[in-house]
């Protein structure tokens, strides 16, 4: 019972019920209209036949007088399926014809009876008060009244028949709709049940669950598909969040411990004013590094959450890259490195200038950090069009990243052992990747010189998908 109630609550069932009702109303209207029309048509024919007969009877009366009229009518009245004939005296008593009784007062007025009336025939065995007729009354010159009418049984029968057909048809229709209703509704309901079952599991925390798909590609499948894509994203964000909190615990505790140790050490030693000052400065330096890490983390999560996506505009990529190169150039020179830029003018993309600048800054900064002391001091920054995308690449000739570790270095806080001694938060490439994802692009890491024995170098390429101008 409750299942039936649930079934009725489904949209499919409600819609089909609504359609059924609307359709029934239309069908009923149509049937009534058709029967009404045909009945009127039959009545029309009846009247015409009666009028023709009246004309005939008048002619007979004029030619053969009352006796001829009586004879003719007697003969006609006996024929099977005959019309109604009555000849009555001036006071209304029936003299001849095939009608046993009439509604009183019917013969008083000449012309068409206003309504169908009831009468009884002589020939009726059952003597039922069942006959309805339409008649024309006329008064002869000698005061006799003549009624010629026609039974309305035929159109009445027709109407009843049509009505019956209507009821049967509607019945079949309703039954069919109910069956289809049930099938569609139940099917939809089952699939909805499966979906809500899956989502209950997901809500309980199992984010790896996915909504079921039937493979038919219908709207349910499309809904499931987009919900699944959404779940995938949520799962990834969630995964990232968990990873970050793990890493925060691990990687932020280290500098915090250092900070605390320094403060303790400063207190423990009876230091001079200058000693305290330098300890405090070191502590500020440590906390600045911590703040820096926090800021980078916040930035990444905001970029990943799409908070900056609203600030997208047309970016002169060529100029941004040149600005960035110019910003880092003196630093590179101080490290005996050389930055060479190959930037064709006028390449624009849709993006966030600030974030692209920061991402590129991170890449150049990395290149400077890791190419220090390399045999080949060249860092090449290049902007180029490649198929449907624009690529900004930074290539150095430092030690590079072994291909097996390339996925790792993009993760938050992951730093290769060889680079632990270098300054940095371990978040640079994570931010670049987040920025690229926001721009629907990718970060690609490749060897600069794939055939070199060692110091293959790293080429980091930011691939932006769409070109505006």
């Amino acid at each position: 019972m409750s299942r039936l109630r649930v079934l009725f609550r489904t949209t499919a069932v409600r819609l089909s019920a609504l359609y059924l009702i609307l359709f029934s109303i239309c069908a009923a209207f149509l049937v009534f209209y058709v029967t009404g029309m045909s009945q009127r048509l039959l009545e029309q024919q009846t009247k015409e036949a009666v009028v023709a007969e009246v004309t005939q009877i008048e002619a007979i009366y004029n030619r053969a007088g009352v006796n001829g009229l009586l004879r003719t009518l007697e003969r006609r009245a006996r024929q099977p399926g005959a019309n109604l004939y009555v000849i009555a005296g001036p006071t209304g008593e029936i003299l001849a014809g095939n009608v046993a009784s009439l509604q009183p007062g019917l013969l008083d007025k000449e012309g068409w009876t206003e309504q169908a009336f009831r009468y009884q025939r002589y020939t009726d065995e059952s003597r039922r008060e069942g006959h309805v007729a339409l008649a024309h009354v006329f008064i002869l010159s000698n005061g006799l009244r003549v009624l010629v009418g026609r039974d309305l049984q035929e159109p009445e029968k027709f109407r009843v028949l049509v009505r019956q057909a209507l009821v049967v048809a509607l019945g079949i229709m309703g039954l069919g709709a109910l069956v289809i209703w049930f099938a569609i509704g139940r099917n939809a309901l089952k699939r909805m049940d499966r979906m809500s079952e899956a989502s209950t599991k997901i809500m309980a925390g199992d984010l790896s669950q996915r909504l079921p798909m039937s493979g038919s590609g219908d709207e349910f499948d499309r809904l499931s598909e987009s919900l699944n894509a959404m779940l995938g994203r949520i799962e990834k964000l969630n995964e990232g969040l968990r990873q970050v909190s793990d890493n925060i615990a691990h990687d932020l505790k280290t500098p915090l411990t250092r900070l605390r140790n320094k403060a303790e050490a400063a207190l423990a030693h009876k230091a001079t004013n200058a000693g305290y000052r330098s300890s405090l400065e070191e502590i500020i330096g440590e906390s600045d590094q911590l703040i820096r890490t926090f800021n980078a983390l916040l930035m990444i999560s905001r970029v990943e959450a799409g908070a900056a996506a609203a600030e997208m505009s047309d970016v002169d990529l060529s100029r941004s890259v040149e600005d960035c190169v110019e910003l880092y150039e003196p630093v590179a020179e101080d490290e005996a490195l050389r930055i060479e830029a190959e930037v064709p003018a006028g390449i624009h993309i849709s993006g966030n200038r600030e974030l692209i600048g920061q991402a590129l800054g991170n890449l150049i900064d990395n290149a400077i950090k890791y190419a220090q002391g390399a045999d080949n001091p060249l860092i090449r920054v290049r902007v180029e069009r490649r198929d449907q995308s624009v690529v900004v690449s930074v290539a150095d000739h430092g030690p590079g990243v072994p291909s097996a570790r390339r996925e790792d270095v993009v993760q938050r806080f992951v730093r290769l052992d060889e680079s632990r001694s270098k300054p940095g938060t371990g978040l640079g490439l994570s931010l670049v990747e987040a920025v690229m994802e926001m721009h629907h692009g990718t970060l690609e890491l490749t060897d600069t010189d794939a055939v070199a024995e060692n110091n293959r170098g790293l080429t980091a390429s930011m691939v932006f998908p769409v070109v505006i101008g």
């Binding site: 800021n295 970029v303 003196p330 630093v331």
Partner: protein, 238 residues
């Protein structure tokens, strides 16, 4: 006689506000304090301040709405927004609301001080000075030329803008982030000492052949260009 700068701090963290008031006093700046948005708005409307330092999240009235309301009342006191929120989009909304500068928490007090001083001075200083002069160093904004003791010093365009910004704020501390923001129009943390390298190049160009140093490094804060020999603050006389 230089008049002392007077600022209003709207900040609900009383401890932070007390620390700021003390630190500003030591720097020679008088400060009033409001601990919520409504009273801050009232004080800022009734009194005249050189700079307003407004925390983004305040009880009773949000920091941004204080700024919009002030601007609606045609009160154009420079506003510096302090915010614990992120950087990318937040700074944009802050500046759009009518703020003049934006500083994310946690910040170094020196950074805040330098920015407040620049904002406070800006109120009176004419923006459209066509030339700046610090001691014997002259910068002509029209011809994009720099001379010292009448001798032309060739500078790269970016170096020129760097010097221009320093000289516009002559006698005041300018922090590294302020330089990155105003000269490069970037608001991110460049990780390395990029700004220091640029400044030291500029310094070598303008000081190499001369005895008198002009561009000072202010420890723990940033840089300041100043005519050390002169008594005043080195700004050009009107």
């Amino acid at each position: 006689m230089v008049t002392r700068m007077k600022i209003l701090i709207i900040e609900d963290d009383l401890e932070a506000a007390a620390y700021l008031a003390k630190a500003f006093r030591e720097a020679g700046i008088v400060s009033d304090h409001a601990s919520d948005g409504e009273s801050g708005l009232f004080m800022a409307s009734e009194n005249s301040y050189d700079v307003l330092v407004i925390d983004r999240m305040l009880p009773r009235r949000d920091g941004l709405s204080v700024i919009t309301e002030l601007r609606r009342k045609a009160i154009h006191t420079p506003v510096l927004i302090l915010s614990a929120l992120g950087q990318v989009d937040d700074r944009v909304t802050g500046l759009r609301a009518g703020g003049d500068d934006y500083l994310p928490k946690p910040y170094a007090f020196n950074e805040l001080l330098a920015r407040v001083e620049v904002l406070g001075r800006r109120k009176g200083a004419p923006e459209q000075d066509m030339a700046y002069r610090v001691g014997d160093l002259e910068l002509d904004r029209l011809s994009h030329s720099v001379r010292r003791q009448g001798k032309e010093i060739p500078l790269q365009p970016r170096e020129f803008r760097l010097l221009e910004y320093l000289m516009k704020n002559a006698g005041q501390v300018v922090t590294r982030t302020m330089l990155l923001e105003n000269v490069w129009d970037y608001h991110f943390d460049p990780q390395t000492n990029v700004i220091d390298v640029h400044v030291s190049r500029l310094r070598s160009k303008i000081e190499k052949d001369y005895d008198q140093p002009l561009l000072r490094t202010v420890r723990g804060a940033g840089y300041m260009i100043k005519d050390e020999a002169a008594k005043g603050d080195g700004r050009p006389d009107p």
